[in-house]
């Protein structure tokens, strides 16, 4: 059960009560405004309690909220979208959606991880967990974008790459490794946005980028909290502890210098105002593309190289400190 769904249930009931009282107030001569005010106060108090300072584990649940806008909701707000299908080898993976798109006036290649919005769609989209053919589609579209000189815009939202038998038989490792490679050598600007879950190598495969944007309550982690708990402690029920230790929130990643910017969400999460959230995200993507557009390809690639080259190189400095000790 989703923690946020559970916790916001009381709020939604209050919201309904307030609306009812307001309607009644308008019709009756009886003045209900004190009751309304009291309820509104209670409402904001609960809202502060729930969303004022969310724990990492609550943020993971917010990222997984069933009503949270998915990649399709973002792509729908592009001025134009022409979907391209398939990996040219095996099949069309519906966990990946991609194609030519217009973001305002700009022509781009949009590539996204797409989870389902209900059980039926989730089965079709494998809960947003791409298979090797999905990553080969990503690779193909990224290559095409680089070939044509179109910037790449990705939306990341996956628990991780599919861990099934078929995926192993069709070389999931190679498919992800090849995506990483393609994004590394791309001669065009890449802007990646983590809109929900950023699970492990399966998310990284679409987010080697010149600019990484994260939604306020999205997460990005070396493994899903459940996966980490299973790996380290053979106990998936310790996921909450893993979520705390992994430093996986957007705010943590901004500190590490992995995320470049955070797009704020309305109180209660992106699903409380999808249109507003989406338009803010698209504006930030557009701004990032405008900045990157002026860089020549060689400079862009060099900056991208240095950006990743620096991550985790700080031990050298610390070692110097240790060396100068007694």
């Amino acid at each position: 059960m989703n923690l946020i769904v559970e916790r916001e249930r009381g709020l939604l009931e209050l919201e309904k009560r307030i609306a009812e009282l307001r309607a009644a107030n308008a019709q009756q001569s009886l003045d209900l405004s004190p009751e309304i005010r009291a309820l509104e106060e209670k409402y904001s108090q609960i809202q502060r309690e729930i969303f004022g300072s969310m724990t990492p584990w609550q943020k993971v649940h917010m990222a997984r909220h069933p009503n949270r806008p998915t990649a399709a909701d973002y792509i729908a707000e592009f001025a134009q979208f022409d979907e391209l299908h398939g990996d040219r080898h095996f099949r069309d993976d519906h966990a990946i959606v991609g194609g030519f798109a217009k973001l305002g006036e700009r022509s781009v290649m949009a590539i996204a991880q797409q989870r389902g919005r209900d059980t039926k769609e989730n089965l079709r989209r494998n809960f947003g967990m791409p298979s090797p053919e999905g990553y080969r589609k990503v690779q193909r579209l990224a290559h095409l974008a680089s070939h044509l000189g179109l910037p790449i815009v990705t939306f990341v939202d996956t628990k991780g790459a599919d861990p099934g038998i078929g995926s192993e038989e069709r070389a999931q490792s190679e498919a992800i490794a090849a995506c990483l490679y393609e994004f590394t050598v791309a001669r065009v600007p890449i802007v990646a946005t983590v809109i929900g879950e950023g699970g492990s190598g399966g998310a990284l495969a679409m987010s080697i980028a010149d600019r990484i944007i994260m939604l306020e309550h999205s997460y990005y982690s070396v493994a899903s909290p459940e996966g980490c708990a299973a790996i380290l402690w053979s106990d998936a029920s310790k996921a909450e502890e893993a979520a705390t230790r992994l430093k996986l929130t957007a705010q943590d990643l901004l500190q590490f210098g992995i995320a470049d910017e955070i797009v704020p969400e309305p109180t209660g999460g992106a699903h409380r105002d999808p249109a507003g959230t989406i338009s803010r995200v698209l504006k930030n993507i557009g701004d990032a593309l405008d900045e990157l557009a002026s860089l020549p390809a060689a400079q862009l690639k060099e900056a991208r190289y240095q950006k990743y080259r620096r991550i985790g190189a700080w031990q050298n400095e610390r070692l110097e400190v240790v060396k100068t000790g007694p």
Binding site: A161, P163, G164, I165, S167, E168, E169, R170, A171, Q172, S173, E174, I176, A177, A178, L180, Y181, T184, V185, S200, G201, L204, A205, I208, Y220, S221, V222, A223, G227, C228, A230, I231, L232, W233, E241, A242, R245, L246, K247, L248, D252, L253, F256, I258, R304, Y305, Y308, R309, I311, G312, A313, W314, Q315, N316, R318, L319, V322
Partner: protein, 284 residues
């Protein structure tokens, strides 16, 4: 029954005895470690390839001198990780146990006469997991190889990305990929030898970005761990699944090479690449 056997089976076995004898995990044959070493840590009875230490691997692969690169890059604790133990304590324990400072040794040396940049991962240090130091050392190795136009051979052995370094560990997939791409774009030759086990973040990055991918017999290679897949599909997987032989049949790797043939095979590969390099240099 040999007279040392009861002592071996006793709970308080002496350290030097444990160091002298090893039991084959496959066929249960008890082997004198000196014989095992002479046979390149391959069971003479059943051919099982024991997991090797990085130092032993270098000794059986490199002709003479080996000049280490990045040995002074040491792990920190960027997440200040604590579970049952502190990450720092886990690192200290592995350092003690494996006599290594991290899960990979990188450097340059000759293989069959060819000067080569060589990286060797070691499963005995944090399960060969890739954290910031492994990523940094591999990147330094590839940068050195690129600078001197050396071919690069990396022996992988890894359970994937290191959880205790969180996203900084995951970013090492990106960093090593960038180093591989730069190295290869200059026309250099990259070989990986996948040893038991090679999974997760290492298999999904530089292990599968090589020009030639070899594997040792029966090595376990895959993206998701066996346990994860079995939990997902709720059934046992066949023994053959995710072995080197399975990957060869599916077309994911170039060759499965027994350890006893490995150095000769690598030497031949390096020779082909050197011939190509000579021809290109002459033509330009």
């Amino acid at each position: 029954m040999p007279d040392w056997l009861p002592r071996r089976r006793a709970k308080n076995e002496q350290a030097e005895d444990a160091a002298t004898w090893s039991k084959c995990p496959k066929c249960s044959e008890v082997l004198y470690r000196r014989d095992l070493a002479a046979n390149l840590w391959v069971c003479p009875r059943c051919g099982h390839h024991f997991r090797m230490s990085a130092v032993d691997r270098i000794n059986i692969t490199v002709d003479g001198d080996f000049k280490e690169i990045g040995g002074d890059v040491l792990p920190g604790d960027p997440l200040e990780w604590v579970d049952k133990k502190k990450y720092a304590t886990k690192l200290a324990g592995d350092r003690e146990k494996s006599q290594l400072s991290e899960a990979v040794i990188c450097g340059t040396g000759k293989i069959g006469g060819f000067e080569t940049a060589i990286g060797v991962m070691d499963f005995h240090f944090r399960g060969g997991t890739m954290g910031t130091v492994v990523g940094e050392r591999i990147s330094m190795l590839l940068e050195r190889a690129r600078e001197f136009h050396l071919p690069c051979v990396i022996f992988t052995a890894s359970g994937g990305a290191r959880m205790e370094e969180g996203m900084l560990a995951l970013m090492q997939l990106a960093k090593t990929t960038a180093a591989v791409a730069r190295f290869r774009e200059d026309g250099n030759f990259f070989v990986t030898v996948l040893t038991d086990p090679t999974t997760g973040g290492v298999s999904a990055s530089f292990a599968f970005q090589a020009d030639v991918i070899a594997a040792e017999p029966k090595a376990m290679i895959g993206f998701a761990g066996r346990r994860v897949i079995e939990q997902t599909i709720r059934q046992k997987l066949p023994d053959q699944f995710q072995t080197a032989e399975f990957l060869l049949e599916k077309g994911h790797i170039d060759m499965v090479v027994p350890r006893t043939d490995l150095k000769a095979t690598l030497t031949r590969l390096l020779d082909y690449a050197a011939a190509g390099h000579r021809a290109r240099t002459a033509a330009s």
